[in-house]
Symmetry: C2
Subunit: 405 residues, 2 copies
């Protein structure tokens, strides 16, 4: 039995994701589709619109066979670490290929770039460092560094977000000599119509925007997502009372920062170069999360980087916590959120080959690796009333969701 | 010019307090009444019904000449430290007497008890320690220890709350050989813990209960407080939207505890003997602050002690922070909240004799001593909307309120 791996966030699962799965099956010829998905906090430092269990279920009912949670320590990071966590996980679970969307759409672009850049790594790093020191943000500095080592616009545009991610996946595969074939499909534009999928394709960002603006699933949105997502979104809202946004967390975050010492804040993962003073100073006057980030932001920091930092503040992630979790040449565990019968059949074979623990539920153990997940989960649910929070957190203690497919 | 010192909380200032001031003037024959008042968090670990500036103003308009804030590090403590902070402060400001209410009503009771107990201090301590080890709460253990050293019911009942405080005041005065005459008046019929309001003198506890129950100043309450308090209570509610209770802080506190590691919680001032596990465990299921304290409480801990601990959690007070502030033989500074013209005249002379800095406003300095005050203030105001919080916090940066009296 062969599996193809996808790296996803599903915030929320939409028609474009269904298309991706369809194409992945075709390109890989795999029997089983395995998605590694960010948990309750996402790569760009946002709280997910609904929790990971509901998002996983929407995916399992729409073509994914196994959903694995990308550990928090890898999920809320810039592309390199994010990719590492995802690829190590997919390697552990024994996929024979991965399939990712990219602006390039051409797998050989990525492998060729790797070969080319491999030799220029040192020069890339030196230039990157120098550009960062000049005060450029990471994406800008990276772009300058790529230019420096001669990567032209022809070869592959490594400033495009999905190309960047795709490149990080390929780099991790090749560096570790994993037997995983990288496959890529060209990303569609919003509005592209494919006969095989009823409805339209819209970006997750635009879907979330519409959901939060109207506080209901409008017709437009309903056309862009499968039934499973409509159901899960509706059920989550009915259970918890809301779809999560950063603004929901503003009060807690402001309280937290205003009762931290500068020293504590400086010890939060990601807080460097005196940023703690800026964050504390602006805390008092901010009237919303958006205002706050705007007040903190300088040329040196992207919005995304600041959002991630606020996730770490909210979930109380200290500097010394992340390194032990991400510095090995693997992930510390593989956490299954849910699977279909087909996925279960695959897993029963694959788990015999695994080198790290297979975690199916968070039990009341004092495993330090899982402590951070617990705290992130607590932070995510902190805006709900105690009764609802208690109910939703129970999902952490249940075995993985099993779908009869 | 002579001054008489009072140790108060004024939560809120009521007719009993006005009576106290009147009697203090008579007994001391002083020109100036100086009150050392707990700030936004009180000795029994409660958030004040309205902030310290409003409470101070009510007092200044009803007979007090100077209101000094008892530093947070001393205010939210059991009687010994609380008393130390208060007496050192009053000594610094040069009072020639103090006047406190007590169940005994007889100053010589206190000085005699001191002489008697001075010799038995070691035996008292040993017995106290043994009783605490048996699992008795502090008040019970203290009572057993007093019995052990032969303090009979005749001499003075050292289990009565005001006697305990009064005794701590006298002990501090005599130990340090301060030239301060202790005067005491017998407390009127409302017992310290009485819940029902009777006549025009009622306990602060019963007044707060009525205020929070009806969310307005009822006639009954209005008869028990002076006009200045009616005005201040009304104005504060109108400005901030509420009178503060512990339940207002529940969400923030729950969020805080659920995103702390056990190690962090164990490092909070006052958290001992594994209490951190109990606090974390009960956090999830509690539906209110009251429920939470009930769930944590055992025979070993009084309600008061637990409330104090929750103050320290809320304001993020670490173990290493309190000791440097309270272990010297004085207070680190004297912070004036407000004064009348009469008080100002007194202060102009008295300040020449002071040995510690006179702080009139919290400026943007990095004085570590004041950092804790800032954080406590932030914690107190954290339940208000950003705009209102900003407005009220501005009071911290203003010179002391000057009343034309």
């Amino acid at each position: 039995m062969q599996a193809c791996g996808l790296v996803v966030e599903y915030n929320p699962f939409h028609n474009g994701h269904a298309y991706h799965i369809q194409e992945a099956r075709k390109a890989s010829d795999a029997d089983c589709i395995i998605a590694v998905m960010s948990g309750d906090f996402l790569q760009r430092g946002e709280p997910a619109i609904m929790d990971k269990f509901y998002r996983a279920k929407a995916a399992l009912l729409s073509g994914v066979d196994i959903v694995i949670e990308l550990p928090f320590a890898f999920a809320v990071q810039s592309s390199d670490l994010f990719a590492k966590g995802a690829i190590h996980t997919l390697h552990e679970i024994g996929v024979s290929s991965i399939c990712f969307g990219s602006e390039s759409g051409n797998a050989s672009d990525f492998t060729n770039s790797y070969e080319y850049l491999k030799g220029s790594e040192a020069l890339y790093r030196t230039t990157l460092k120098a550009e960062l020191a000049k005060g450029f943000s990471f994406p800008e500095a990276s772009r300058h560094a790529y230019q420096e080592i001669g990567l032209s616009e022809d070869s592959m545009d490594l400033t495009k977000p999905n190309n960047i991610l795709g490149y990080s996946y390929v780099k991790t595969i090749l560096k570790n000599e994993y037997k995983i074939e990288p496959l890529t499909i060209k990303r569609t534009n919003s509005g592209y119509h494919d006969e095989a999928i009823t409805g339209s394709i819209a970006s997750a960002t635009s879907i979330r925007k519409a959901l939060n603006e109207h506080n209901t699933i409008t017709n437009q949105v309903a056309h862009a997502i499968p039934t499973s997502t409509i159901e899960q979104l509706t059920e989550y809202k009915s259970e918890s009372g809301q779809w999560h946004t950063w603004e929901h967390y503003f009060d807690l975050l402001q309280y937290r920062v205003m009762t931290m010492t500068p020293g504590e804040l400086a010890n939060i993962h990601g807080v460097e170069e005196g940023l703690e003073h800026r964050i504390k100073k602006t805390a008092m006057h901010a009237r919303s999360f958006h205002e706050w980030v705007e007040a903190v932001k300088t040329k040196r920091y992207t919005w995304t980087r600041l959002q991630r930092i606020f996730v770490f503040i909210l979930a109380n992630v200290r500097k010394e916590e992340i390194a032990p979790l991400v510095s090995n040449h693997s992930v510390p565990y593989v956490r299954i959120l849910g699977l279909t019968k087909n996925g279960q059949a695959y897993l029963n074979k694959a788990k015999k080959q695994m080198n790290v623990p297979l975690v199916s539920k968070l039990s009341r153990q004092d495993n330090p690796l899982l402590q951070l997940e617990e705290r992130a989960s607590n932070a995510y649910y902190s805006i709900l009333t105690p009764a609802i929070r208690h109910k939703l957190k129970k999902q952490e203690l249940m075995p993985p969701l099993l779908i009869n497919k």
